[in-house]
């Protein structure tokens, strides 16, 4: 089912690009790269590693390992509208609906033999306990070896060294599995590509900060969380450059993403993965645009090619989801100020303790700088209980509140 779906998607997008170059927007190019990644996974091209969100995907690429975080598969299932039966399968096997649906969807699919089979798994302690537990389950289902990266909460020198040493141990683990050693030249190339894409992504984000913003709510949706999967490749640079060119051109033409932009919004953590009317409602009814997703930022310095592993460890630990609430709240406040947002929307994904557990502190932290937060109770993957009417009402009330604040 999924291999055909993905194959058709790739063919469909490529066909439309060939027949009408005008449809090859940066977003479409971006989507094409991710469905191609999905296809590589389902075709079991090369060695496949299923990972935690914070795995160093470019380092894995340097070892010619096709890798992705398992939540990516969960997101694909939800976007394809087929997560429901997978969730049900996992629930029937005893995984309660109180766990994160990204994981339940993948576990359910794996139990039914509907996912590609990994050669090995690499778990990361950040961002969440559930993600690691899901990987342990998947290792058991597939009877494959699991390697775990303990990501310390704070980036002291000792902690960076500890993580860097684990990256080195991970390389040895991969060598045991694949028989391949890390190649210095290949690693250098991958690092240079990652540095280049990081630099272009920074420029893309800077362009998105323009008032009015050249972006639509869709353009960079889930961009910052997904792009690391392409780090180290030329394709990632092409995708990022496509956005940069497009946004610069829109600014040059004085064209905003949403005509007559009225409200600028910050979206926290994950987008809603299944089709829903909220973005359209925001843009069309209220001229409100999501100018920034929480993950859309580059928080790391370029990696020194002479000491890439340390640089990658530093990059991992710089992620705002790692560490204390204060750090994450600071990150959000900075984004809110830089993007000049009027409000923030936090989809409190049921089952995500690290995300929802910080909800109160985020609301408080943003309120202190005058940014109201709308907390939506929903599940970003499981559409079965999505209360569309209620969500719309809450979004409408929120925007009206923003409007009344502005007129006072």
């Amino acid at each position: 089912m999924m291999p055909e779906y993905i194959e058709n998607l790739v063919n469909g997008i490529e066909h439309s690009f060939n027949s009408d170059p005008a449809v090859s927007t940066p977003r479409k190019l971006y989507e094409l790269e991710f469905v191609k990644l999905g296809r590589r996974l389902y075709r079991n091209e090369g060695r496949v590693a299923w990972c935690g969100v914070m795995a160093p995907f470019d380092l894995l690429r340097a070892m010619d390992v096709t890798s992705c975080f398992v939540e990516f598969l969960g997101a694909i299932l939800a976007t394809a509208g087929v997560a429901g039966p997978m969730l049900q399968a996992a629930e029937l096997a005893g995984f309660t609906g109180d766990t994160c649906a990204y994981h339940r969807a993948v576990i359910g699919a794996a139990m039914q033999g509907l996912t590609p089979e990994p050669d090995f798994l690499i778990g990361t302690t950040c961002p969440c306990t559930g993600g690691l537990a899901a990987l342990e389950n998947l290792a058991e289902i597939f009877k494959k070896d699991l390697f775990i990266l303990n990501i310390p909460l704070n980036d002291t020198r000792d902690n960076i060294r500890y993580l860097a040493d684990q990256f080195k141990a991970m390389l040895e683990f991969i060598t045991q599995k694949t028989g391949r050693m890390i190649d210095g030249d290949r690693l250098r190339e991958v690092v240079e590509n990652s540095n280049r894409v990081g630099a272009v992504m920074r420029q893309v984000y800077d362009l998105a900060k323009n008032v009015p913003s050249p972006i639509t709510s869709r353009d960079l949706s889930s961009f910052g969380i997904a792009m690391p999967l392409l780090f180290g490749t030329e394709a990632a640079i092409t995708v990022a450059e496509g956005f940069r060119k497009e946004f610069a051109a829109r600014i040059g033409r004085a064209q905003s993403g949403v005509k007559n932009e009225q409200f600028r919004l910050l979206w926290l953590q994950n987008r809603i993965m299944f089709p829903n009317p909220l973005e359209k409602l925001l843009e069309e009814e209220y001229r409100a645009v999501i100018v920034v997703d929480e993950y859309n930022s580059i928080n790391w310095e370029p990696i020194d090619p002479a000491d890439p592993i340390t640089g990658m460890a530093r990059r991992t630990m710089s992620d705002p989801l790692n560490g204390s609430a204060t750090r994450r709240v600071e990150h959000l406040r900075k984004a809110a100020i830089e993007y000049q947002v009027h409000g923030a929307i936090n989809p409190c994904h049921w089952g995500c303790r690290q995300g929802t557990g910080i909800r109160g502190l985020i609301s408080e932290g943003l309120k202190e700088i005058g940014i109201p937060v709308l907390n939506l109770e929903l599940d970003c993957v499981d559409s079965r209980n999505f209360a569309e009417g209620q969500m719309k009402t809450r979004v409408e009330a929120f925007i009206e509140m923003l409007d009344s604040r502005r007129s006072h």
């Binding site: 096997a93 005893g94 995984f95 309660t96 109180d98 766990t99 994981h103 778990g123 302690t125 969440c128 306990t129 559930g130 690691l132 537990a133 899901a134 342990e136 389950n137 290792a139 058991e140 070896d145 699991l146 390697f147 775990i148 303990n150 310390p152 909460l153 704070n154 000792d158 902690n159 500890y162 040493d165 684990q166 141990a169 204390s324 609430a325 204060t326 409190c348 049921w350 089952g351 303790r353 690290q354 929802t356 557990g357 910080i358 909800r359 109160g360 502190l361 408080e364």
Partner: protein
């Protein structure tokens, strides 16, 4: 003997290095999630966080805590990490420290945890204003090891049904050991062990193995007994898991030994043994079989990811050895626990 300053250091996780707190002159005080404080933590955190952390935060919010010199948090899971964040926010005046706990138990992880507890040592020295010697730490470790061995002996008596009050009594001792001076608990346990074994008057109850996270309420154990169960083995975070001895190793570095020891004890499912993924299922199966139980009860906090993600495999492993499993959702109140009575009774009936 380490001189105690009579002050308390709060903690909330079973991985806390208690001997270190003791060596610094403090009494470790487990902030148990039992309270009459109003239920308000969900507003700071979210309703979908485990009741263990919510009740602890409720205690902090309502001032339902003894005077604490400081609190040691451990990032054993997302919920605990968020508790540390929220606690700092609601009681900014309190001294706190958050320790990183690795998920794995290998040597690099032990070295890393060693660095963490070394940092804790420095903080405790700063809080108490006095240096702690390696001998002092060694001395405290020995006391805790002794307590663990004595509690082990006592557990044997509970299993044989030869201690009045059985598992209720045992839990009362655990609670005291987790919140009061170790010296006092050690004396009481020794006295108990010096008494001749007495057969438990209530017999004919069904042997059951109990596992889970937090269940400090003695009434819960009374309820199990009144439903016809005899707890013959237990693996709870507020029970034996906090007080198990470990094999002493020859490293001359006392803190490294402590780090290795804590990581090597039977653990919470949040810890992963890379050589044996889902090791928790095998551990529970082996312990349940060894205890002679006829059935297993898992008492799991609602929203506790470390357990929720492992229950299917635990159930599967127990099924292989014909041990039925009853899973009870916990919310740290006896009110909800009472609602489980019918299910526990039916389960025990089925096991007869």
């Amino acid at each position: 003997m380490n001189p105690t300053n009579g002050k308390l250091i709060g903690f909330a996780c079973g991985y806390t290095p208690l001997p270190l707190i003791h060596a610094a002159g403090y009494t470790p005080y487990r902030i148990l999630p039992t309270t009459a404080a109003p239920d308000q933590a969900g507003q700071v955190l979210h309703e979908n966080l485990c009741p263990h952390v919510k009740r602890i935060l409720d205690r902090a919010l309502s001032g339902d805590l003894p005077e604490l010199e400081g609190v040691v948090f451990i990032n054993c899971c997302d919920a605990m990490r968020r508790l540390a964040d929220a606690y700092g926010r609601v009681r900014p005046q309190d001294k706190t420290i958050l320790l990183n706990l690795p998920v794995t138990t290998d040597e690099p992880a032990a070295f890393f945890f060693n660095q963490q507890i070394t940092q804790l040592l420095h903080v405790l020295e700063e809080w108490s204003g006095r240096a702690v010697s390696p001998d002092g730490i060694e001395d405290s470790i020995q006391q805790y090891q002794q307590l663990a061995r004595s509690l082990d002996e006592l557990r044997g008596r509970v299993k044989r049904g030869s201690i009045p009050g059985g598992s209720k009594h045992m839990q009362a001792i655990y609670n005291q050991a987790a919140t009061g001076p170790i010296e006092l608990t050690l004396t009481q346990v020794r006295q108990l062990l010096a008494e001749p074994e007495q057969p438990d008057p209530i017999d004919g109850r069904v042997p059951v193995y109990l596992f889970g996270n937090v269940l400090p309420d003695i009434e819960a154990f009374a309820l199990f007994e009144s439903c016809g169960a005899r707890i013959v083995g237990e693996n709870l975070c507020t029970g034996s898991r906090l007080f198990r001895s470990w094999v002493s190793e020859d490293s001359t570095d006392v803190l490294l030994r402590l780090a290795r020891g804590i990581l090597s004890r039977p653990h919470c499912p949040r810890t992963i043994d890379l050589k044996r993924p889902m090791g928790i299922s095998r551990e529970i199966k082996a312990e349940a079989e060894l205890s002679g139980a006829r059935g297993v009860v898992g008492h799991i906090m609602k929203f506790c990811d470390p357990y929720l993600y492992r229950i299917p495999t635990i159930r599967e492993h127990l099924r292989l050895v014909n041990l039925p499993l009853l899973v009870l959702d916990g919310d740290c109140t006896m009110r909800s626990f009472g609602q489980h009575r019918t299910r526990v009774e039916a389960f025990i009936e089925m096991l007869r």
